[in-house]
Symmetry: C2
Subunit: 307 residues, 2 copies
């Protein structure tokens, strides 16, 4: 397998200023797998759900070329459930309810066929669970990307630090970068975090775009100014999916190519926020993706010749 | 005269998380004139100060090629004074003290030699005062750029709306764009504001960059990620100065050239925030400016060929 995606497959209930949903399908791995499927069809997913999870959505994932042999279905148990309410600025939210259910004792099992994956996307999960995935691999992937969140910094910082030591790219948001580094300046934060192990760092700033750092270079990609951001849920995961999907497709992990991957990731995130849940990520055409990427090119391109 | 700059020349006292200043020189027109002086030396300034204002700084402005024949010096009166404290995020601030002094009855007088200026930068002032400047011009400038703020939206909205009807480019920040339009989405806000008269709109987002809109196009320029933002005072005015200075130099007011102007404006703002007050804007070399602009080019340039 080329790309292994690990993360939650779950239910969400979402309130935004534009409306609210009942339980709909979500989870980091769902968004990552769908977004990456526009770049590679050689994707395997490792996750866990209960017997309440809809077969329809599993069929949708399969239809997008995602191998579900690593998706555990726990009979008699319930899928992970998260419920949240976004504030008017759409950048902050309150968690209303979290029911871990099957996630409480999730023991990821990497299928034999994925133990030599070339690209690994570790979606946001308990750091120890992310570690368990790493320990099952028979060869070191060409690229390991890990997403995490403030919650694990609060309750499992030593495990998180241990886990990110050996990865290639860490993706976190701006406040998480500040929390992890203790630095307010994102430039200083990035250098401290890169000293913890990762070779590159992506700082996601939501509607304010994303920064890519390595020890010597920095790249900035804007978010697309949209008429309406309908539901930000899954935007960061869609970004990660587009990012690693593009890298898996091109098999080029240079900083120059990561810049392009950031643009493709940003494009996938810009689709996700246009509708509730995963809806907008299903059944896009290559033309849709290309046109969206062209909007990013148009948005930032300028021509300055310094004399 | 090619470029006429109108705005405050004043004293500030500033507190940031990095330190505090006594009364130092500031004011919108000071920053605008200094920033634009790196692009054109054909600049005239209209403003008012008291007899407490330091001759030294006037000499500095003159040294930067700024004609001060439109700077009124009111004997026996005091210069405008503003004092503020920035919060830790450096994006928000509290006003601690405002003493209008000479600004209370400022009656701008445009020198004869500037009544046919080609480029006009109306810095943030009471809309009626901005109007008084416009009414003294004998020919319509090639480009009128106007900066304003939420304060005038609160207390003088009808006058502000009347003033911006006839201008070319409005520069405001994101929360002001939302206030002026009543729209949360900046894309929707921009279209509503462009329907009020301006041909182009710049939305300044501080550390998150700036957006340029006309009725058909949008361009985004990032802010440079800096190790430290020392003092944001004057960043927006420095941006405006670089923007209109570059346009006055090139005499090209197309959208394509405004994109370049935004990058030069962003570069000038990135200098300003590195030190307190106007200090960093004084005595830069062409090489300093070019290298800084190159950092912006490097920050956002990527190469995607869609096939």
């Amino acid at each position: 397998m080329s790309l292994l995606v690990v993360g939650t497959v779950a239910f969400d209930a979402i309130e935004t200023p534009f409306g609210k949903t009942d339980k709909i399908v979500g989870g980091a791995a769902s968004y990552i797998a769908l977004a990456s499927s526009y770049f590679t069809q050689d994707i395997s997913l490792v996750s866990v759900v209960g017997d309440d999870f809809p077969q329809d959505f599993m069929n949708t994932l399969k239809g997008h070329g995602v191998d579900l042999s690593g998706l555990q279905i726990k009979q008699g148990e319930k899928s992970f459930f998260w419920s949240g309410r976004y504030h008017n600025d759409m950048n902050s939210r309150d968690t209303l309810d979290t029911q871990l259910n099957v996630l409480a004792d999730f023991d990821p099992i990497v299928p034999e066929s994925s133990k030599n994956c070339e690209f690994l996307m570790l979606g946001n999960l308990m750091p120890n669970v992310q570690q368990k995935v790493l320990s099952q691999l028979t060869t070191r992937p060409k690229l390991i990307v890990l997403d995490t969140m403030n919650f694990w910094m609060d309750i499992a910082m030593p495990e998180l630090l241990e886990t990110i030591k050996g990865i290639d790219v860490l993706t976190i948001n701006d406040s998480e970068a500040r929390q992890l580094s203790g630095e307010y300046s994102l430039v200083k934060a990035a250098q401290k975090i890169l000293a913890m192990g990762p070779k590159a760092l992506v700082i996601k700033k939501g509607e304010h775009g994303a920064l890519l750092f390595n020890k010597k270079e920095v790249f900035f990609a804007p978010a697309l100014p949209l008429e309406d951001v309908f539901d930000p849920t899954g935007a960061g995961d869609s970004f990660a999916g587009g990012f690693i999907g593009y890298l898996a497709k091109t098999k080029d992990i240079s900083f120059e190519n990561m810049k392009r991957a950031i643009i493709f990731g940003s494009a996938m995130a810009s689709f996700t926020v246009e509708k509730f849940g995963t809806e907008r990520l299903i059944g896009l055409s290559q033309k849709d993706v290309d046109e969206r990427v062209q909007e990013f090119v148009d948005l930032v391109q300028f021509d300055i010749s310094l004399v």
